[in-house]
């Protein structure tokens, strides 16, 4: 099995996602970066599940499905929030959202 390659792919995706979350200033791009992390998770789940034999493979895939579903819901909520920000501020630059600190 090419598990290691999948894991590396997952790790790379994860890292890119994390980088995006931390570095992008645009709210929407941050949301997309989070999706990248979740996809890294999905790859891991499926790949590692497959490593565990039949029962493990199913479990991994089911888990991945749950993640995909919930991620969708999550992104929906997230977009709503970002939209709200945009509506009130006419910007989605996250650096500007710092009314509260300290």
């Amino acid at each position: 099995m090419l598990v290691n390659q999948f894991l590396v792919l997952g790790a790379v995706l994860f890292s890119i996602g994390v980088y995006g979350v931390l570095a992008r200033r645009n709210g929407v791009l941050v949301l997309m970066s989070i999706e990248l992390i979740l996809n890294a998770v999905n790859i891991n789940l499926v790949a590692l599940g497959a490593l565990q034999g039949a029962s493990g493979a199913v479990t991994g895939q089911v888990f991945a499905l749950f993640v995909i579903t919930i991620a969708a819901a999550e992104v929906g909520v997230g977009l709503a929030i970002v939209l709200l920000i945009y509506r009130n501020r006419a910007s989605v630059d996250l650096d500007e959202v710092d009314l509260m600190k300290g």
Binding site: L22, A23, V30, L94, V97, D98, M100, K101, G102
Partner: protein, 705 residues
């Protein structure tokens, strides 16, 4: 009365409360309660004296013990144990069986104790122990106090705090009486401190003026400093004597060698420090002249019968301890005698340069207390006590006389406001003169006998130096009293008031005291020796203290010295001859030549002492030393305490200790402020922190676990 001696202090104690609460509403403003109580106490004391004299001498104590006899007993007594009655019995039997030499029956002390409180297996008792010394003291104290009370009714008449004054007098007397009848050191401490309190109250009676309250504080604090020693002494003896405060037991065990020598010395030194403070011995004597700020009757009470003699009494009472600790029987030199001797001389010298009549008397008291202490220090126990007894009368007389004078002239300044008063106040003059002569120690007045005994004691017990000190002291005493009498009663009146003889409440006490000043000494005159017989007690015998009867030779010497002193003072002050030139001095030297053998020595003495006293070199130097150095040290200690308090508070307490606390608080807040900067408000920095921390934690755990 001997069993119920507690009644006497109780009387005055009750009187104190009665005066305090009801005094103001009574016609006499409380004085009648005080006088009544004291009168009753005096009567009871007389009863006690009579009973004591009638008491058959039954107890047998070997005269003079030797340690070998009791060597085997030591361990037994060294062990802790509270049952003193039994112990006493053991000792007594041991003494009887092992005793040798002549056996003199004496009157056994009457003890009565009740349990005061119990801690662990130590039962602390309170009670009375009455023996000859006690009854003598009871008699003296109640008599003097009664007279002072009577005197005060007139003297203090119209005072703002008349009632309160009488209450304090009652309490004061209570303190002394309590001390006198105490059977334990702890209880004695009560009386001791009670007097300290009352002296504070009475010296500071006119506390509106700062110097009066300062004097009161000084008196209290100085004696309290001495009390540190007393505390240490009592504590040390408590443990050394096998956990007991009982005075008789402590004496017994000290004398039988049951107490280790080190502990004994520590205890004795401690107690003696207390005595130095209380009895105004060198170098803690400076409070006493300041204490003249109080009303004169108080001075009389303090100086004659209470407070200052408490220290002397304590030494006499715990004589066994001092005897063993300082090896008084061996002669030579010991701390008690030295302190007493120094005090005799320096105080007498100081009395020369005082212009305030009360201060002369105050230094005189210090000096006389020095005599008493010295007497005890040289082993002349009876003499010391006898001097205490006689001194009480003539010193009381002198103070009351001074009070009478000041009552007439509204001043205490002999130089400015007195002079020639013998014409205006004959009774006061005569009685004051009697007191002075008694103090100077001329035959046959009281002071003569007691002083002579001290000299004899010093000589016979191997303390020749102190005999000399005594003689020099006698000379000085006579001289300054002559000066005092001269300045007050002779010459021309220099004041502006209209002097008059004092009324009866003042003169009657003077007369009574004058009678005692004349007669008290005869109690121990050759052939009578009643005083010795009365006061003889167990310790006295156990220790082997010698009683020294009257002897002619020292009596003659001291009489001559006293007369000489009076003569010099007479020449000096009355005739004002001496200062005028060498011829007169030479004439005097010539007249002295007929009396004494060594011309050069005498000449030298004269030149030194007299010129010194005239020009004030020695006396003034001593006074300067006294005021600036000794008193300065005393005051400086006080100031230093304040300063160091200030310093400690400001630099240690507030800066370091409290500063650390507050600093920790500020530090926490400051740290919180720094940490706050993490919270930038930027969500991505939050995320970075989150992920960064996760990574660090994971890496850390991988590496270190």
């Amino acid at each position: 009365m001997l069993e119920n001696a507690w009644v006497i202090p109780t009387l005055t104690f009750v009187s104190f409360w009665l005066i305090l609460f009801f005094g103001k509403r009574l016609p006499g403003h409380g004085a009648e309660i005080g006088i009544g109580a004291l009168g009753l106490a005096f009567v009871l004391s007389c009863v006690a004296v009579v009973q004591w004299v009638d008491r058959p001498a039954t107890e047998v104590v070997p005269h003079g013990t030797s340690e070998e006899v009791h060597g085997e007993e030591e361990e037994e007594h060294g062990a802790a144990g509270g049952q003193r009655g039994e112990d006493r019995q053991v000792v007594a039997t041991a003494v009887e069986t092992g005793g040798h030499g002549e056996e003199t029956p004496i009157r056994s002390a009457v003890e009565r104790n009740v349990t005061w409180f119990t801690i662990g297996d130590v039962e602390v008792t309170a009670g009375t122990a009455v023996d000859g010394l006690t009854v003598v003291m009871l008699f003296t104290v109640t008599l003097i106090s009664l007279l002072v009370h009577v005197f005060s009714t007139n003297y203090m008449h119209g005072d703002v705090r008349f009632t309160y004054f009488f209450a304090a007098l009652s309490l004061f007397t209570t303190g002394m009486l309590l001390l006198v009848v105490s059977s334990s050191t702890l209880q004695a401490l009560f009386g001791w401190e009670l007097m300290g309190l009352c002296s504070f109250m009475l010296i500071g009676h006119w506390w509106e003026k700062a110097e009066n309250s300062n004097a009161a504080m000084k008196a209290f604090l100085t004696t309290r400093t001495g009390d540190v020693g007393l505390l240490v002494g009592i504590v040390t003896l408590f443990f050394a004597a096998g956990q007991t405060f009982d005075i008789a037991l402590i004496n017994e065990r000290a004398l039988t060698g049951a107490i280790g020598h080190t502990a004994l010395v520590v205890g004795a030194v401690g107690l003696f420090i207390g005595v130095i403070g209380k009895s105004a011995q060198f170098p803690l004597h400076t409070w006493l002249p300041d204490a003249m700020a109080g009303p004169t009757p108080v001075s009389a009470l303090i100086h004659a019968a209470t407070m200052v003699v408490a220290g002397v009494y304590l030494v006499a009472r715990l004589y066994g301890v001092f005897w063993e600790a300082f090896d008084i029987g061996a002669g030579g030199v010991n701390p008690i005698a030295v302190v007493g001797g120094i005090t005799v001389l320096i105080a007498a010298a100081l009395a020369f340069v005082q212009d305030d009549i009360k201060k002369v008397l105050a230094y005189s008291t210090v000096s006389q207390l020095g005599y008493m202490v010295m007497a005890l220090g040289v082993g002349a126990w009876t003499a010391g006590i006898f001097h205490l007894f006689t001194h009480a009368f003539f010193k009381g007389l002198l103070f009351l006389g001074a009070g009478s004078v000041s009552h007439a002239v509204h001043s205490f300044d002999m130089k400015a406001d007195m002079g020639g008063l013998r014409k205006y106040m004959p009774t006061t003059f005569v009685t004051f003169l009697i007191g002075s002569v008694a103090l100077a120690g001329l035959f046959p007045l009281a002071g003569f006998w007691s002083k002579d005994e001290i000299l004899v004691g010093a000589a016979e017990n191997g303390y020749p130096v102190f005999e000399l000190v005594g003689i020099v002291g006698a000379f000085l005493t006579a001289a300054y009293m002559t000066r005092c009498v001269y300045l007050t009663f002779f010459g021309e009146y220099r004041g502006h008031a209209h002097p008059h003889e004092s009324p009866r409440p003042i003169t009657i006490p003077l007369m009574v005291l004058a009678v005692f000043s004349v007669g008290a000494g005869l109690l121990n005159a050759p052939g009578v020796e009643k005083f010795f017989e009365i006061t003889e007690n167990r310790v006295f015998l156990l220790a082997g203290v010698e009683h020294h009867s009257f002897e002619v030779f020292p009596a003659v010497v001291s009489t001559v010295v006293v007369l000489a002193a009076i003569a010099f003072a007479y020449l000096l002050f009355f005739e004002r001859r001496l200062p005028r030139g060498l011829t007169r001095r030479n004439a005097l030297a010539r007249s002295g030549y007929t009396l004494l053998t060594n011309k050069y020595y005498l000449d030298h003495l004269y030149t030194g002492v007299i010129v010194g006293s005239v020009k004030g070199a020695i006396a003034r130097a001593a006074y300067w030393f006294n005021q600036k150095v000794i008193d300065g040290v005393v005051n400086a200690v006080g100031i230093a305490a304040r300063r160091s308090g200030d310093w400690t508070y400001r630099h240690i307490d507030q800066a370091v200790v409290d500063g650390a606390v507050n600093g920790a608080g500020f530090g926490a807040e400051g740290f919180g402020g720094i940490l706050r900067t993490i919270q930038t408000g930027r969500v991505q920095q939050y995320a970075a922190l989150l992920f960064g921390a996760a990574t660090v934690l994971a890496l850390g755990l991988i590496i270190f676990v």
